[in-house]
């Protein structure tokens, strides 16, 4: 099967609207078809990775729980924009996805330029 060199950019905070979830669903769907993209969380997208999300009281399912399925779908490296974490006061050491490695990206522009196609969520 042809492997495409694709990056999924996740830049939306969870819960305020459905965009973050829709992006993740697209990533999981592609991965289920053996077309797993690389993923990069940046800007407000890094809020998706905060631990201890408890959204049941606002009638939503946990996006973090869904994200934790990424390794099961074959996505074992989670790229995260370092500056976006810094701006939001998030310590990278707080972030953990079992079975996946969190890789901080300092030069997001250079990172993005390494892909043939980019899906933006």
């Amino acid at each position: 099967m042809m492997t495409t060199n694709t990056l999924a950019l996740c830049r939306q905070a969870p819960y305020g609207d459905a965009l973050a979830r829709e992006g993740l669903e697209a990533i999981l769907a592609a991965a289920a078809m053996d077309q797993a993209p690389a993923v990069l969380f940046l800007r407000d997208g890094v809020f998706q990775l905060l631990p201890e999300q408890a959204p049941s009281a606002i009638g939503q399912k946990s996006l973090l729980r869904n994200l934790q399925a990424l390794p099961m779908f074959g996505i074992e490296t989670i790229h995260v924009c370092e500056r976006s974490l810094l701006e939001r006061g998030i310590d990278a050491k707080q972030l953990a996805i079992a079975g996946a490695e969190i890789e901080l990206v300092a030069d997001t522009g250079g990172f993005i330029a390494g892909f043939d196609s980019v899906l933006s969520f």
Binding site: E25, L28, A29, A31, A32, R65, N66, A69, M72
Partner: protein, 111 residues
């Protein structure tokens, strides 16, 4: 489909035969759902059904085939973490059929 009667209870199903309410699930419901798929549940089936429910509790989604195979392999060993094994238990589409019997939603990422 609409609904089915199990032990005097009316169980609501969607048009593809998945439970509308996850809370309706119990082992008797699983037996009935399996029967509708032409499957007689054995210990080997139950082991996978319980595992699927664990997967759902952990990740809040029903797995497509690939993650299901991986998860089964991790939890039950490599000899069971194979498509062919799951295919024999839950033909013709293990992710969909096993999710249905386990009372979970249809795998969202499964065509």
């Amino acid at each position: 489909m609409g609904s089915m009667q199990i032990e005097g209870r009316e169980i609501a199903l969607d048009k593809e035969g998945y439970l509308r309410e996850l809370d309706d699930w119990n082992p008797a419901v699983a037996e009935a759902l399996a029967k509708a798929e032409g499957i007689e549940l054995t210990d080997a089936h139950w082991e996978v059904i319980r595992l699927l429910q664990d997967f759902y509790r952990e990740f809040e989604l029903s797995p497509a085939m690939r993650p299901l195979v991986k998860y089964v392999g991790q939890q039950l060993g490599a000899d069971k973490g194979r498509s062919i094994y799951l295919m024999q238990l839950f033909p013709p589409s293990p992710a969909k059929v096993a999710s249905k019997i386990a009372g979970l939603p249809k795998p969202t990422n499964c065509l």
